[in-house]
């Protein structure tokens, strides 16, 4: 893994963007994550994560449609980059590798928690 670091929260947001695809804009990402994490998230935290990852090259974005509910303001739809895919895959591999190297007895204990 290179220097570029992906924080835990960032990784979650990045995965959500990847999951939501064309629906991946601020509020929707927030909703999705809140459902999954079962906790309240602030717009600020999501937005700062998104902007940071855009800066780092994990995400690109473009304006989507405007809705009445948004007061005529356009959404910004985020898309994951191939670089992000690579990093995500790497992360997953690392994790899987680690999981596999855990002794079987402890691993089964972990699974039951």
């Amino acid at each position: 893994m290179k220097k570029t670091k992906l924080g835990e929260f960032e990784e979650l947001v990045l995965l959500t963007v990847a999951a939501l695809q064309s629906e991946a804009y601020g509020v929707e990402i927030k909703r999705e994550l809140e459902d999954r994490l079962k906790e309240k998230l602030s717009v600020g935290s999501i937005q700062s994560a998104l902007k940071r990852m855009e800066e780092k090259g994990f995400l690109t974005s473009e304006f989507g449609e405007a809705t009445l509910k948004r007061g005529g303001k356009r959404k910004r739809i985020y898309t994951t980059t191939s670089y992000a895919h690579k990093v995500l895959a790497e992360m997953k591999d690392i994790r899987t590798g680690l999981w596999e190297s855990i002794p079987a007895s402890l691993a089964s204990e972990l699974r039951t928690v």
């Binding site: 804009y25 509020v27 927030k30 602030s42 717009v43 937005q47 700062s48 902007k51 303001k73 356009r74």
Partner: protein
């Protein structure tokens, strides 16, 4: 669901958001926030949605979302201001005429402001140098005279001593009594005012001493001199230890040892002294002086308390003394109550206190008011000049503003730039103004009025005052032009479609106000000058010309001098009197059938009326046989008007229970100058032994010669006593000087106002004409003559001028009428001639200004005008 259109997210957090969040993120985040808000509004409540919205916005303030802090904080503004400064200076150089007009105008106005400050400072610091100014009081009493309660500054003689014994609150008491004496040191012999006082005088009124010891006043043989007297008699030497002879009168004199010299008195004071001696010396100077006599007064009694709050208790206890006083005197002299005047404010109240030792500063306060008004008007005139010129010259700076705006200057920045320029200009004007004020206006004024207001630039208040004038003037004159000029849009400027400065109603209004103000100032100047001339010609009610007078110590001296002067063929008539017109009189208290009145009284002999040229209106004057006329009086017309209308001679009244009959009425006369009202006056017969004045009518033309003869004879007869006397024409002292100073002062103000207004007019016209050079060139080429060009130039100012005159002429007429009534007891009848002269003067000035411009146009070569782009 709540209808969408009725709810919306709260506004102020949104504004907050827009202020801080990066522009490129705004649309997205705003949209998100709004979507969330409506979701919440549906799910929970609008109120809660509002709260969540606000909270969320606060939580959006994260570094990555925020605007770059470096772009928010403006870069250090100093280089920008340096640029403004440079541009201002270049601007001044480029348009020397406008800058000259602006700076001259402002600096004159600021100079006057500096002067007003100096004067006000001088007035307000009056008597404030006394350390105990808040605990020292002058005793006064209130008495009902002529139906009016009047405050008197004198005190019954025994009161001071009694108070000191009776009240523990009173720490010090000092009595003050003044007498005229002759002071002799070697060959220096002069009439002087001597002040008898208790030793506490110098601890209560803290005049510092230059030499000697202030405690020495308790020594009955000591005298303390003022700095001025010390110089007069001893030059720069330290006179302590020297002996001077003080002659109280012909018989009594005493040698005193100089034991102290006061340091130079502060410039603004109302109480001072020339010679101070112990009060006990009065026993020698005036053997008849009874210190225990409740019926007689001492000139002043000062008390000092520990705490001003103690005064209440003292005032409460004064009834006892009032009873004592009223038991001692006759009914008509009864007093209503005793009072106390604090030293710190005595000079302000002095105007209302009769016979007090302090001098009133009321007229000074009035002057401050007048001067402030004048200063504000002049400042306004100067500001109008600036505003007008700035607006008109703005055309030349449009490109600059356009460029500045293009490269990112906001309107606010342009305003700040223009105000900065203004501050720079005002600053120059301020420097020139302070120099003008300190070296020209203040010394000029001091010289005119013969006083020294001790002006110093080292007063912190002055600099605060100047700083506020700087900012106020800069903003007042600069804000309108700045707003006006910064308003234009870049596109318009650069396309050249912005047209302005040619016909601006505001410019015209300001010019109109300037002309109106100038007219008011000129009218005032003219009227004061007219009044001064009028008063010089106004009759005094008697013939003051070809009349001489001399003061004599007693009746015997009168006989001696009279016998000598009788030999002079130029002397037509000699008269003796106890009092003298313009020099002295006394107050008498007369009882008519129903009421009592105070009148002025002069005791004279039978020839006095002829000698002074008083005109008899009815009845007769005194006969030479004094005895028969002892109980008769001659009154003036004012007396008849005030007390017994219709009845002239033959009416009777009492003075101290002696009955007098009116045998004659003389026409009203001014015993003192025109500032003082003509009071009801009576003449009584004077005893020969009481004569104090010798007055003579001399052959017209021989005044000088006779005067010299009078002095020579005096010196022969009374070598020990200095001569006091002179021409009757001079008895009013500085009156005529004073009213002519009023005229001079207003002339100066009028001149400044006209100068400012005409400078403004000149500047405005020259800019206007410069802007229309092409038009005039075409007109000239097509054959327009001087007349037509002059007509065109003048036309736009004629209406303006007419309006200004129509507004200002009646206003100034009314104003001056009131001003005269307020400042002068007697003045010339105010008519329209002054206004007419003023208008004529202003027309002349305006015409000259216009004609310089017309000539400029006529002389110019039309080719040059046409070549202009």
């Amino acid at each position: 669901m709540i209808p969408r259109e009725n709810i919306s997210p709260p506004r102020w957090p949104l504004g907050f958001l827009r202020l801080f969040i990066k522009k490129e993120y705004l649309e997205e985040i705003e949209g998100d926030m709004e979507e969330l808000f409506y979701d919440n509004a549906e799910k929970v409540s609008v109120r809660k949605a509002n709260l969540i919205y606000t909270w969320e916005i606060l939580r959006l303030l994260r570094p990555i979302l925020l605007k770059n802090l470096k772009t928010i904080s403006t870069p250090t503004p100093i280089p920008m201001f340096r640029n403004y400064f440079k541009v201002s200076l270049r601007g001044f150089m480029k348009t020397p005429l406008s800058s000259f007009i602006n700076i001259v105008g402002l600096s004159i106005a600021i100079g006057i402001c500096v002067f007003v400050y100096g004067f006000a400072h001088w007035v307000y610091s009056t008597d404030q140098f006394h350390e105990h100014k808040n605990t020292v009081y002058l005793m006064t009493f209130l008495a009902n005279r002529d139906g009016v309660l009047q405050v008197h500054g004198q005190t019954p003689r025994p009161l001071g001593e009694m108070l000191k014994q009776d009240f523990t609150h009173i720490t010090d008491v000092c009595r003050v009594e003044d007498r005229s004496v002759v002071v002799k040191y070697n060959d220096n012999v002069f009439h002087e005012r001597l002040r008898f006082t208790d030793p506490e005088f110098l601890t209560m009124l803290t005049f510092p001493l230059k030499w000697g010891d202030s405690g020495s006043l308790s020594d009955i043989n000591s005298v303390i001199l003022s700095e001025e007297m010390s110089v007069k008699y001893f030059g720069d030497e330290n006179p302590v230890g020297e002996s001077i002879l003080i002659k109280f009168d012909d018989k009594n004199s005493k040698a005193f040892k100089v034991s102290g010299v006061a340091a130079e008195f502060p410039k603004s004071r109302t109480i001072g002294f020339n010679f101070l001696v112990n009060f006990e010396n009065l026993r020698l100077a005036d053997p008849g002086y009874d210190m225990q006599d409740w019926e007689a007064f001492v000139n002043a009694t000062l008390i000092r308390v520990n705490d001003p709050a103690d005064l209440k208790a003292i005032e409460m206890g004064m009834d006892k003394y009032k009873a004592l006083q009223n038991k001692a005197v006759k009914e008509e002299w009864e007093i209503a109550s005793f009072g106390f005047e604090q030293l710190a404010t005595l000079h302000e109240r002095s105007e209302e206190i009769k016979d007090d030792i302090s001098r009133s500063s009321a007229s000074n306060y009035k002057s401050i008011m007048f001067l402030s008004v004048v200063a504000v008007f002049l400042l306004a005139l100067a500001c109008f000049n600036y505003i007008n010129i700035a607006i008109v010259t703005a055309a030349k700076r449009l490109k600059e503003i356009g460029v500045r705006k293009t490269i990112g200057a906001t309107r606010r920045v342009v305003i700040v730039q223009f105000l900065t320029e203004n501050v720079v200009m005002t600053f120059f004007a301020l420097i020139v103004g302070v120099v003008l004020g300190a070296t020209l206006f203040i010394p000029g004024f001091e010289q005119m009025w013969h006083f020294d207001m001790g002006f110093s630039l080292a007063v912190p208040g002055l600099w605060i005052y100047l700083l506020s004038i700087l900012l106020l003037t800069a903003i007042a004159s600069g804000i309108y032009p700045a707003l006006y000029i910064s308003r234009f849009e870049v596109a318009g400027i650069l396309k050249g479609s912005v047209q302005f400065g040619k016909k601006n109603p505001i410019t015209k209004t300001f010019l109109g106000i300037q002309l109106a103000l100038a007219l008011m100032f000129i009218t005032t100047a003219v009227m004061f000058t007219q009044n001064s001339a009028y008063m010089a010609k106004r009759g005094w009610g008697y013939n003051q010309e070809a009349a001489l007078y001399a003061q004599v110590p007693d009746g015997a001296a009168f006989e001696q001098l009279s016998a000598v002067m009788d030999q002079d063929p130029d002397v037509l008539l000699i008269s003796g009197s106890r009092h003298h017109l313009g020099k002295s009189n006394t107050t008498a208290f007369i009882q008519m059938a129903d009421r009592s009145y105070t009148v002025d009284q002069l005791s004279v002999d039978a020839k006095y009326f002829e000698a002074m040229g008083l005109t008899l209106a009815a009845g007769r004057t005194f006969r030479d046989l004094f005895e028969t006329d002892k109980q008769t009086v001659i009154v003036n017309e004012e007396f008849v008007r005030s007390f017994n209308p219709g009845e002239g001679t033959g009416s009777v009244f009492r003075i101290d229970s002696v009955q007098y009959e009116v045998i004659g009425v003389v026409k009203d006369f001014h015993s003192y100058d025109f500032f003082k009202k003509v009071n009801p006056t009576i003449f009584k017969v004077a005893d020969r032994g009481d004569f104090r004045y010798l007055s003579m009518r001399v052959r017209p033309g021989s005044e000088n010669k006779t005067y010299k003869g009078l002095q020579a004879n005096w010196a022969k007869l009374f070598p020990e006593t200095p001569f006091q006397g002179g021409y009757q024409e001079d008895v009013w002292g500085s009156y005529f000087e004073e009213i002519s100073i009023h005229a001079t002062v207003w002339k100066v103000f009028g001149f400044m106002a006209v100068l400012l207004a005409s400078l403004g007019l000149y500047g405005l016209m020259s800019l206007n004409i410069a802007g229309r050079a092409k038009e005039f060139s075409i007109r000239k080429v097509l054959g327009a003559g001087a007349k037509s060009i002059a007509g065109i130039i003048a036309r736009q100012y004629v209406i303006l001028f007419a309006v200004a005159v129509l507004l200002a002429a009646p206003t100034s007429y009314t104003l001056i009428k009131n001003l005269f009534d307020a400042s002068y007891t007697y003045h010339m009848p105010v008519d329209f001639s002054g206004v007419v002269i003023a208008v004529a003067l202003l027309v002349a000035v305006v015409l000259i200004t216009v004609s310089t411009q017309v000539r400029k146009v006529l002389k110019s070569d039309p080719v040059n005008g046409l070549k202009q782009e």
